[in-house]
Amino acid sequence: MSTGALALVSLLYLLVLFAIAYGGDRRVGLTGRPLSGPWIYSLSLAVYCTSWTFFGSVGLASSRGLMFLPIYLGPTLMAALWPMVVGKMIRIGRAERITSIADFISSRYGKSHSVGALVTGIAIIGIVPYISLQLKAVSDTFELLTHETTANLFDTAFYVTVILAAFSILFGARHIDASEHHRGMVSAIAFESVVKLAAFLLVGGLVTYSFHDGFGDLFAQAAARPDIAQLFTFAGSGDYGTWISLTLLSMMAIICLPRQFQVAVVENVDEAHVRRAAWLFPLYLILINLFVLPIALAGRLAFADQGVDPDTFVLALPLAKDSAVFATIAFLGGLSAATGMVIVETIALATMFSNYIAMPLLVRGYLAFAPGRDSLSGVVLAIRRLAIVGFLLLGYLYARLTGENFTLVGIGLMSFTAVAQFAPVLLGGLFWRGGSKAGALAGLAAGFLLWAYTLFLPSLARSGVLPSSFTEWGPFGMALLKPGALFGLAGMEAVPHALMWSMIANIGCYVLVSLISEQSAIERIQASQFVDSFNAVPGGTSQFWRGNATISDLQALAARFVGAEHAEAAFRGFSQTRRISPNPDEANPELVEFTERLLAGAIGTATARVVVASVAKGEIVSLHEVMDILDENSQVIAYSHKLEQKSKELETTTAELRAAYEKLSDLSRLKDEFIATVTHELRTPLTSIRSFSEILFDNPQVDLSQRQEFLGIVIKESERLTRLINQVLDLAKLEADTDTWDLVDSDLVQVMEDAASSVGQLFKDKGVALDLDLPAQPVHLETDRDRFSQVVINLLSNAVKFCDPQTGRVQVSLRDQADGITVSVRDNGPGIPDWACEKVFDKFQQVGDTMTSKPAGTGLGLTISRNIVSHLGGRIWVESPPGQGAMFAFFLPRIPSDGNLGAGSIGPDH
């Protein structure tokens, strides 16, 4: 086949592809609805199957049998977990406007630039060989088909590179789309997946059923050859280890490859598609692998020892039978597999590169030196285009350097191991809140370094770029550090060996450093946003932000990166859906957040954050601040609580004090009154004694009878004075409670009879009758006999004082009850008015007109009686029905209660 014809067919194919992509983009522009659905989504995921699958699997199968399968079984297993893992990533990706896997990981670890840059770096170094693999496959098959080999500087691979670069730019970097969806590209990728599957099935069918007589015939022929029959089983236990590690590796790769992340997460339009893809994608993998073993066996049978590269069997078999059509179909299948991968991968890498390596530098310089008006969207686009060209050129360079030293699968597995380093931080970040930025950096760096040492450097050494001595003998002859058998771990294949060591270092460092390092506020917020995405906070991080910015500033900023038209439309849409803030030009945190996400689509989350922060002069409330505020608040609350308590205590104390003061001032007033009264009472008899004594002293001639009369008055007044002083002393003693009380069992009947007889003379003098109404049996009570009789005598002398002479009558009675005794003294005197009933027991209160009649007592008798009674635990009272005289009575309990004994000793009760 001529070079020109094949080149024309290839170009035509690529143009058809572009037409599909363009149509897809236009469809979005016209109808607003992309051509999408679970089928398109599942087919676009099949970008996983590259020329490695198309050519390399057959190559591997022809030497290792079914060992090519773990690379597809891993994704099949992972697909069952997609609704959980990828579904969650899609939800987060949509909320945070994630545009690449670097974006995702960086965003998870606190929108960190360094994490994003490290992921980007690993991805570029890891993936460039993979891209070169595609270029090599396309150019090799092209040369095989045209029987031409150009050995000059610009070989076939170079033209392939240039053409693929042009198409990648056309597909993925024609313009900046704020949403970062490439609907057209996805349609084209889905179409390519159909083409490569159909091509492989056609070639497989041709080989199996045309060149051979079906599966049975092919396997029978192979089984007849012992060297081929050994492909049907594993050689030894080492193969099982390789099988398991390749399965694990591909499980990680299917979610960590930048192109898989691009189609599975970034380009996803409906989360429900994931569920159908969970079985459609494995089905695709089964179909495309169905004929791998038959083609490999047919190749081994046909080209035994002819030096044909097993990686080209798919093409070589139809060629050998002169079937140019099928050879072209095979070539186109391989081309579609390669272009699909290159386009998506370079676009993903270019986005990551522009967001995490170019833009941060540019933005820093731009903000620092030239805060001009020019739009930056053109710059972003230029960076992406240059990056695409750069990656393809790097791939070309790698292909030139490594030359023919590698199989397709070898290079592919090396790239897989590199991107597998993302798995711990990615999955850990999704399900483990504790994963920190420092841990992610440590894990990624450690895993990457070990990958480079055990896999990447040896690959360069084998191709002659580096001296090969260090792979054979170890660096500086240290066999323990041999890259292929690190720490003496020999006997493993290179990829499982590298995977094991890098994963131990990666996971170990990630977990360890995460555990010992502390997360910043933004890391914590992002961690909880990612881990709890099922019930994400509606306000996003905006609720943790405080600061101020103007709407016009934000819009101008957005316009610089995504274009004025886009920015205006987005802001208009925002203000229509949200309520407008009262101050028309003041942006609320929600709008700041919105701007950040809008920019994130174009320049990545971390850069967007820095850029927006330059306008929105505010900052996230740090955790420490929050804690400080909380601390302060709780302290204030505790303090005010204490104050409240104190003031309550004070209040009660004040009330108590006030009561005590009132009581004290009352008492003091009473004392004053008492003293005044006593003084007054003492002065009356003293005055009369003095004046009569003076009369007698000044007039010696007073006759005897007069003298006798005057001296009689002096004696009587002196007696009265003595009595008064005695009673005051008595009362003072009672009140001060200094007297000893002699409580003995006494017969009250006897005591009362004695008392009555002692006042009998008084009654006889006045002619007042005294009736004693006493029980016949003795009444026993534990009491102070003298005090008791003093009370009775007091009451009796009081009664006789108020009775009319001759007609007066006093009745005394003693009642013996269960709980105590009651003594009552009734007279038939004038009685006591109601208002005075309470006062008669007060000191010096004498009922009756003190102005006209001379007081008949000291006025202390009843007070003393009340003190004695209350001291004995009883009570005293007076009843005076009008016109029936007065009845004084007191009650003494049989068992004096402890509280009352001795109580009420200070002054009168109120």
Binding site: L66, F215, A220, F232, R276
Partner: protein
């Protein structure tokens, strides 16, 4: 209606659990103890036993996942 939504959530959770179980089934099918059973180098119906087993298990597993995913989709 909240209770219907809760019901749907529970349903989707049940689907997820079943898919996780399918994952475990697949992991068991494609790891050595079971693989070794079919590593005897024999042929069945003209096809190597090992290849036949792996592809049958693969198709079977995909079928199970399809059943789970599509049955859940109906609600």
């Amino acid at each position: 209606m909240p209770h219907r939504r809760a019901f749907r959530l529970r349903k989707s959770k049940a689907v997820r659990d079943k898919l996780a179980a399918a994952f475990l089934l697949g992991a068991a099918l494609f790891t050595p103890p079971l693989l070794m059973l079919f590593m005897n180098g024999g042929m069945v119906a003209g096809v190597p036993v090992f290849a036949l087993y792996v592809f049958s298990a693969w198709i079977g597993l995909t079928g199970v996942v399809a059943l789970i995913a599509e049955k859940g989709e109906g609600d």
